[in-house]
């Protein structure tokens, strides 16, 4: 039976009460306790820094050459916090409410409320670290809007907010490295969890330079290893982002929560050809100032500038007048797909819509002209002034678009299309962020907990830092307080020996196949199955087919993959092969979960379950639960359910109209 360990009491008092009553570890004992952290993105780096500051002996692992390169660095638009600096009606409750509603009532209320409560502390902490957020002329912090909300609560640093927040956490981490509290293991990949007497007590990691396997002990193990969007091959994730750490945990008994909940982001640069290796996001913040449209006529091949205003369909503003271009991501993505499928798409592939800045460029230009008291400015002057404002807000994004497409987005509308971006699913965790394996925790995108079936923009950064800076320092102490007598376990313990042997035999098996096809060949095939049958729209028949196809592909992979080189050296192909092997198992589980959930909710759209006007139709009576899957062997998973209770946020049909 799943116990989510949600504290008793009213929602707004739970975290306060928990902090007041959880067990503590005294400073002398902390110095003897070792904590392993896998991943150094926002969640991992902030946890490593915060736990190091408390005095724990932390070992942090990342597969990149430096912790600063974790994929949090690529987050663009911003981070939410319920500061109400804009006096526009924001509050902890409203951030909580927006997040639960945005997640289509599939998130756990208590976790989301805690997230909203600590959101303000995150901004305070980051500013104190010297994170250069955008500011107003009076020296105060600036905010902007993101999807799914009607207030301005998003803090940002141009289009590089993730970079600035991660460098803040990375600096704090490096400071702890200098103080000797954190040991950093770069270019190391975790390949198994070591469980002793039912508790996570260490990991097996491969040194990616030498290929050597290493054993590491920890009183507890924290996975902050990110999401699994790369199961689709093409996504906005970094090339190295993978599910391996989370999947090894699954195979060691950690349940996997809501694996089918994936987020397709509406505004990405469209695919240009078969050579494509990844997709690039254009931040949601662009929807503040960009208006999305397609021609009113099907198969219209005119240039966008030749299509007059009354022949354009601003379909988001038409369908959702209350939120307009700022509807949540799942809604915006489906609406784009609907228009393109109906033949209104633009560009050579017809799989794109326009994101147009002309209207707001002119509006900003007029404001600037007024500020400068220019009388009768020419349209050119207005456009020039407007472009300067737009460049300051989104300059790096516009440059990125121009480099990739060769087009100038200041002059012609961007062409955009939805792409895989984020995974709401992940390792099931209780209120303390502990998985179903005692002493094994999951933080940030790696866990399932806060975003339900759809994450709101600018909330991933918030969750990663909340888990790392403000949640785990309390909840980990509550666990380790009972473990202070445990001495470091010898690395010769049979469990370590056994785990290393298993990892070694998997590597030997992979290297021994000596087949004919590259790892990428299989990854691309898997991605296509997932995108076609477990992507933006899903149905029973497609999912059943996908499961059979993935099983066949997995078999082919294990008999025909070719990995050049040696296992005892720097071998990126071997690294990729291990990750794709895990994706080939996860992909099947995602399809199984999507098949089981015969309702539509958030990013999970089952074609069989929709309202007459094509919106996602939930089935609260039968599916108001978290699906937590237990690994029972190849292609065998047992479903456990955590019932969701909504006390403060009563589920309704989600409407943004």
């Amino acid at each position: 039976m799943l116990n989510s360990k949600i504290p008793a009491g009213s929602l707004d008092k739970k975290w306060e009460d928990y902090k007041g009553h959880c067990k503590l570890v005294n400073p002398a004992n902390k110095r003897n306790m070792e904590v392993i952290i896998v991943g150094t993105g926002l969640a991992g780096a902030s946890a490593a820094a915060a736990l190091g500051e408390l005095g724990y002996k932390v070992k942090a692992f990342c597969f990149q050459d430096s912790p600063r390169r974790a994929h949090s660095i690529a987050a663009q638009g911003g981070i939410n916090a319920a500061k109400n600096y804009q006096n526009d009606g924001d509050s902890v409750f409203r951030l909580f409410y927006d997040t639960v509603k945005g997640g289509d009532y599939r998130a756990r209320e208590a976790n989301v409320h805690r997230l909203a409560e600590v959101s303000g502390n995150i901004i305070d902490q980051c500013v104190a670290q010297g994170v250069p957020f955008a500011r107003e002329y009076g020296g105060l912090l600036s905010n902007r809007s993101f999807g799914g909300t009607q207030v301005q609560r998003t803090f940002y640093a141009a289009g590089q907010t993730g970079q600035q927040l991660l460098l803040g956490a990375y600096s704090a981490l490096e400071r702890q490295v200098a103080l000797g509290n954190v040991t950093m293991y770069n270019r190391h990949e975790m390949l198994d969890i070591v469980v002793i007497d039912g508790k996570a007590r260490g990991i097996i990691a491969r040194n990616l330079i030498t290929g050597k396997l290493e054993r590491h002990f920890g009183h507890a193990v924290l996975l902050a290893s990110g999401g699994y969007g790369n199961v689709f091959y093409l996504s906005t994730n970094a090339m190295g982002s993978n599910v391996t750490a989370a999947w090894k945990a699954t195979r060691k008994g950690a349940f996997f929560g809501n694996p089918c909940f994936t987020q397709i982001h509406p505004t990405c640069i469209p695919v240009s050809g078969d050579h494509q290796s990844k997709l690039t996001l254009m931040s949601e913040s662009l929807r503040n100032d960009g208006r999305i449209w397609v021609p009113k006529k099907q198969n219209d091949t005119r240039k966008p500038s030749d299509i007059p205003e009354d022949e354009r369909d601003y379909y988001l503003e038409r369908r959702y007048p209350a939120f307009g271009n700022l509807v949540p991501r799942d809604v915006a993505s489906r609406a784009a797909k609907e228009r393109c499928d109906a033949g209104y798409g633009v560009g050579s592939s017809k799989q794109a819509v326009y994101l147009d800045f002309a209207y707001n460029t002119e509006r900003y230009g007029r404001i600037e002209a007024n500020k400068r008291q220019l009388s009768n400015p020419t349209p050119e002057e207005i456009r020039k002034l407007g472009k300067e404002v737009v460049a300051e807000k989104y300059g790096n994004l516009f440059d990125m678009y121009a480099k990739i497409t060769g087009e100038n987005p200041y002059e012609v509308p961007m062409r955009i299309y939805p792409a895989v971006h984020y995974t709401m699913g992940g390792l099931w965790v209780d209120y303390e962020l502990m998985t179903t394996v005692t002493g094994l925790y999951a933080l940030g995108e790696a866990n399932f907990s806060d975003h339900g079936a759809n994450r709101l923009g600018a909330s991933a950064l918030m969750q990663g830092l909340a888990d790392g800076y403000f949640v785990i320092p309390y909840t980990l102490g509550n666990y380790l307080a009972d473990d202070i007598k445990t001495k470091a376990i010898s690395l010769d313990h049979p469990a370590f020996v056994e785990a290393e042997k298993n990892v070694q035999s998997t590597i030997d098996k992979l290297m021994g196949i000596k087949g004919t096809k590259s790892v990428d060949h299989f990854h691309k095939k898997l991605g296509k199955i997932m995108w076609d049958k477990c992507g933006m729209a899903r149905n029973e028949q497609g999912l059943k087919e996908a499961i059979v196809e993935i099983q066949a592909l997995r078999k082919e992979f294990w008999s025909d993959v070719r990995i050049p080189g040696d296992a005892n050296e720097f071998n990126p192909e071997l690294e990729k092969a291990g990750r794709v092997a895990d994706f080939l198992e996860l992909g099947e589980l995602m399809c199984l979960d999507a098949l089981n959930r015969r309702e539509s909710c958030g990013g999970h759209f089952r074609e069989e379950s929709q309202t007459p006007d094509g919106e996602a139709q939930r089935d609260d009576e039968n599916f108001s639960y978290v699906a937590a899957w237990e690994y029972k062997g190849e292609s065998q998973f047992e479903l456990h359910k955590e019932a969701l209770e909504f006390v403060e946020c009563k589920p309704t049909q989600r409407s943004y109209k």
Binding site: R69, V127, A134, G139, S171, M400, Y469, S518
Partner: protein, 254 residues
């Protein structure tokens, strides 16, 4: 934008590991689309090498959107190739034309030893940050964010310096293999903000000391770093670092 395909001759540095002797290998590649990124062209080549039973070329890359700082190729004698303000992963093949010969090397600097082929070890940068590239503030100590006022021009200048991605192009471009642009970006960011003031002296002194210890060369103001920086970090940051360093040296009391 007109699309076209091209055939190229690639000369790529191959080196088995840090201790091995490296050399250039020549690879003809054909049918490359002008819409591909430079790294996607390498993907095509690597796929072919694997199919031919050869070892693919190792290179660092991750986000492929110009922000993680992993990619690091020296292309035709220029860090990150011919486009200004661009990382290797954002460089696209329309920068080249049919028949071109393209030479690709790893970063060349004693402090960045080659790991394999085009991959180098940039751990020295982490150790420089360790020496002082932070504000010493433990979690939970912060006051309300809006209690610290930062003038917009200072905030913007701090952000421009903080945009550094730590890729090492500045070092690779410099004839002295100096890391001054990298160090100055972090020192400037924190020197421009009120939060950075309490530690400004020790920060400048300690980061420079670590930079020297890592074996990076001195700055002779040639400006190659600024010209090749994919994030266009300004040389004025080096001037600010020099001011900070000298002021700290003159007034620092043990």
């Amino acid at each position: 934008m007109e699309h076209y395909t091209m055939n190229l001759t690639l000369k790529v540095w191959r080196q088995k590991n840090t201790d091995a002797q490296g050399k250039f290998e020549t690879y003809p590649v054909s049918g490359i689309s002008s819409e591909m990124s430079f790294l996607e062209m390498f993907d095509v080549l690597n796929e072919r090498l694997i199919n031919e039973g050869k070892e693919p070329i190792a290179f660092d890359h991750d986000c492929r959107e110009g922000i993680c700082g992993a990619c690091s190729m020296h292309i035709n004698g220029r860090a990150h190739g011919p486009w200004a303000g661009t990382t290797t992963c954002q460089l696209h093949m329309r920068a080249f034309k049919d028949g071109d010969t393209v030479t690709v090397e790893p970063w060349r600097a004693g402090s960045f030893p080659v790991v394999k082929d085009l991959t180098v070890d940039r751990g020295a940068f982490d150790r420089i940050i360790e020496a002082g590239g932070y504000v010493s503030v433990n979690t939970g100590n912060a006051q309300d964010a809006n209690n610290i006022l930062v003038p917009k021009d200072k905030a913007d200048a701090a952000f421009a310096a903080a945009a550094c991605i730590g890729c090492g192009a500045c070092v690779a471009a410099c004839k002295n293999s100096s890391a001054m642009l990298f160090v100055s970006a972090k020192v400037s960011q924190l020197a421009l903000l009120p939060q950075g003031q309490p530690e400004k002296k020790t920060r400048a002194l300690n980061m420079i000391a670590q930079m020297d210890k890592e074996g990076f060369g001195s700055c002779t103001n040639t400006g190659a770093c600024e010209a090749e920086c994919p994030k266009e970090i300004s040389l004025t940051n080096i001037a600010r670092l020099n001011r900070e360093y000298i002021a700290a040296g003159l007034s620092y009391e043990k």
